[in-house]
């Protein structure tokens, strides 16, 4: 079955079985392996992508359901080799160690700060509670997201 959607601003068309979830489609059919799969049943948040502006778990949406949507993955957050302010803040605060959860953390935080650039600590912690990290203990991640808020206040697309 054919699924057509925008992937990081580019139109894509891909033939998939209806049972294939969007994460497998991105990784195996479209070669976008930045999206990581941890649990594959909606618990860990590693596979978070942004569909029509909203952070969603790409293991909990079928590729065929993305028809006509705009999908942004971690690859789509920066347009060149430079780090975005969010990524810079992650680096500065050591907000990753093994890096497995990082794509999901970045897409989730990017969706949050795009909509709510003034999110307070409690809000950031609450939103990130849907993303598991087994390395950092979360505190550096929360600090990085809080610091990145400034860049989202200045412009819609940092």
């Amino acid at each position: 079955m054919r699924a057509r959607f925008q992937l990081n601003g580019q139109p894509v068309a891909v033939d998939v079985e209806p049972r294939m979830h969007l994460a497998d489609c991105l990784r195996d059919e479209l070669g976008q392996t930045g999206t990581h799969l941890g649990c594959e049943h909606g618990v860990c948040g590693a596979c978070t992508v942004i569909v029509d502006g909203a952070a969603v778990r790409s293991c909990l949406i079928l590729a065929v359901q993305a028809e006509g949507s705009s999908v942004v993955t971690v690859e789509g957050l920066s347009t060149d080799d430079a780090l975005t302010p969010l990524q810079t803040a992650f680096r500065k605060h050591h907000a990753l160690q093994c890096g497995f959860c990082t794509p999901g953390m970045l897409t989730t935080a990017h969706a949050l700060l795009t909509e709510e650039p003034d999110a307070d600590t409690a809000r950031v912690r609450s939103v990130l509670s849907g993303n598991l990290c087994r390395c950092t203990g979360y505190i550096p991640i929360v600090e990085a997201v809080l610091e990145a808020r400034a860049a989202y206040r200045k412009t819609d697309k940092p």
Partner: protein
Amino acid sequence: MKPVPFEYHAPATLREAVELLASDPDAMVIAGGQSLIPLLALRLATPSLLVDLRRVPGLHAIAVGDGGVRLGPRVRWRDIEDHGPLEIAHPLLQEAIAHVAHYQIRNRGTVGGSLAHADPAAELPGVAVTCEAEITLVGVAGSRTIRAGEFFTGPLTTVRQRDEIITELYLPFWPRDRHWAFLKFAQRQGDFALAGIALFYDEDQDGRVRNAHIGVIGACDRPRRLTEVETVLNGRPVDEVLIREAVEIAARTVDPPEDLHAPAAYRRALVATLVQRGLRRATQPRSV
């Protein structure tokens, strides 16, 4: 794990969707998929056909009127969170929905999906039963409306027929001066409740309770009201003596399951504690 292979259709009308469901006894409806896709991944559900409601128009309205609140089946959790008028029109609903799962799931999970999935620990079925909501379904035989208290029949089971699609959840009018509380206990933020309660009551001019409603999630085989507790509350002012009585009856009458997450006695104690905290919370003034 990967789901079993299935066919997929996204019809453009409700009628087509119902006919597709009727044509295949192993067909299932998908809306947000936040409960169904995990079941597919774990192969606890093995449909031959998924009928996606994403192209069916008119299913995602939130209507607030003098008679109450009407929610379309494709209303997402975040639509309820973001809907300003609901803060007054149904604060219990909004508070309960704030406890549903996580950010990403709230961006896709839907009203109709939660009702049809009927997890005994889910928030919305608990609110529906507590508030005497009504659920409207459309199938090949036409449309019917069922009281929420009769809709849920057990864990993950309802009276919905295979060809029926939920088209509306109706929550009766909510008076502004109503007393209420929603409390949930889970092991981690966003987890399903080990136990939770939704409660509300009105007061007569002498400050005595009338119209008491208490519902429990997570500690029964389906969302259930604690009718004996409601009976003891009605006609009396809420004070510590009454709360003690209510707590004792709640602990005696709730019938919790036992599983690897918690023994029955623990859930029973949780319900008692939540009823106590909920009644105390409900007596406090709210700033809306």
